[in-house]
Symmetry: C2
Subunit: 324 residues, 2 copies
């Protein structure tokens, strides 16, 4: 029975899994993504994180049927370019060959958000649907599409739901544009907004919680803690995020009329069902076919969805070879 590995390469963490043919997780590991150095350093840490998961699963990477990687940036065969959240990764880096050399098995690359959407479609909260929109609410807001049972990637850049415009000339987005949904709902933009409001004299415990937890940014866990404490500024900024998510996701649904919407990502998973419900309610007034809203779910595979979806890349590969 062939085991597979999966690596979810994020801007904050590298999550790895080893799965069996039934997609059961035999081992998993997590390491912080290097914030300095360059692509080779990131690749070395990815290899180490995969070895951690293999160790937990009590096997050697060389015996795996293959390892899939969900990566940010532009993917061209085995190369990754313009992974702007990663250190010094503007140019092209031969990630797949580098990992193949290190791990001693086949490596395949896919888009991080798309593999996470595929995983929810095949194994998670999207199993019942033939069309769905995956919304990954974290540092930014990414999106993945399944239409008629297949991923839709357009000319390679589809699913950028974070950059749906919800306010013309609105808040400045981390992408440099104005009024994007992500400019209100992305964790990076939310942190910037909190800082601005604090400078203007508004009070919050968010940064105190950050220091207590020895963090350098407002993580999903810190947001959740501040909400639990009834921090008014945190509640205000999250309300604003939910409002933007409601309008932006409803706009995408008005265009696509998908059956399901899956809310994942660091904030989506951490804030869970109550916030998926709030987002669904915030969508409702903007839905054109409001008599038949899409089903909105939290990503069922949780934090591991990206890595499990990455492992599917090598499984699909094997399926393709078997039918070829």
């Amino acid at each position: 029975m062939a085991m597979h590995g999966g690596i979810d390469l994020g801007g904050t963490k590298i999550q790895t899994v080893i799965v069996d043919e039934d997609h059961s997780v035999l081992g998993s590991a997590r390491r912080p993504t290097p914030t300095s150095g360059g692509p080779a350093d990131v690749a070395a840490e990815m290899e180490a994180a995969l070895r951690d998961a293999a160790k937990a699963a009590e096997l050697e990477p060389e015996t795996l049927g293959g390892v899939g990687v969900g990566s940010p940036g532009t993917i061209d065969g085995g190369n990754v370019t313009s992974a702007r959240n990663l250190p010094d990764w503007e140019g092209s880096f031969a990630l797949a060959p580098t990992l193949e050399d290190g791990l001693g098995c086949k490596v395949r690359l896919g888009n991080d958000v798309q593999v996470a959407t595929d995983a929810e479609f095949k194994l998670g909260a999207g199993r019942l649907y033939s069309s769905l929109l995956g919304v990954f609410w974290g540092t930014g807001v990414g999106g993945g599409l399944i239409l008629d049972g297949k991923p839709w990637t357009g000319r390679g850049a589809a699913g950028e739901i974070g950059h749906i415009v919800v306010e013309i000339d609105g808040a400045r987005c981390t992408c440099g544009r104005r009024g994007c949904m992500e400019a209100y709902a992305g964790r990076a933009a939310m942190e910037g907004h909190v800082s601005q409001l604090v400078e203007k004299g508004r009070k919050t415990d968010l940064f105190k919680l950050m220091q207590e937890r020895d963090r350098t940014r407002l993580t999903s866990g810190i947001w959740a803690r501040a909400l639990d404490r009834g921090d008014k500024l945190a509640i205000h900024v999250l309300d604003r995020a939910v409002r933007a998510l409601g309008a932006g996701i409803a706009s995408a649904v008005n265009v696509l009329d998908v059956e399901g919407v899956i809310i994942g990502g660091g904030l989506g998973i951490r804030l869970g069902h109550p916030y998926a419900k709030r987002i669904s309610e915030a969508m409702q007034p903007h839905l054109f076919a409001d008599f038949r809203p899409p089903h909105v779910h939290v990503a069922a595979l949780g934090d591991l969805g990206g890595a499990i979806g990455a492992a599917l890349l090598v499984e699909d590969d094997r399926a393709a070879a078997a039918t070829a």
Copy 2:
């Protein structure tokens, strides 16, 4: 050689064509859509308009291979429900059987905007693309999608790009919601906005032109005339429409990454290339993959696109029968 008929049923006019197997138009006709009575009266006028086109083509409707109809509302087989722009057409009406009885040939129904998009994809400005977004800029703003060479209709309500939210809590839309693209760019909403501004003391020749031309509303032709005369209020309201179209269409492109965008509809056709270019420019600052914007064209089939697309419905039908 089988000829086919096509009927484009709009809120303002009924446009009909007779086409040959090469999709050349042998005859066409246009009648105003009844504004009173009910579905049976509209159907009678549709039959009369199709007979006008048949007469122009020097043939009898009974000899046609079939007649296709592009209709608003919800289509279920041969029935049309909830065609809210049409008089007293909230309930279900057996449009196809009624027309079949009257015309003596087979009748097939399709969604008005989708058949117009199909026509541009197969015969018009979208011929070179495998994925495209049709934008029908008229009384409202409708949309049709072709993805991977096939229409994408979702659960039946996809393509509602007019109701992409461009301003949360923004202008009131004709659909009752707030901030929709159509609330700024639809001709009905634009006319309402002009009326409000005139009440506030702003000057315009728009309504004078309307009376001179013996119209009861601000048609595309009247908007074009007012622009030609340099009417400042008309320019202001159209600038606002273009701004909303730029943001809304860019949002759809960020989600779908289609190759082409086709601008049709009464205003789109009438204002033509200069405005398609303006819309393309207004999209640019909102496009995430801004290094590779989609190609933006005016609908090549012009005012007849909807009716020609409707005729394709019976041709497709024949093709399906031939391969069955």
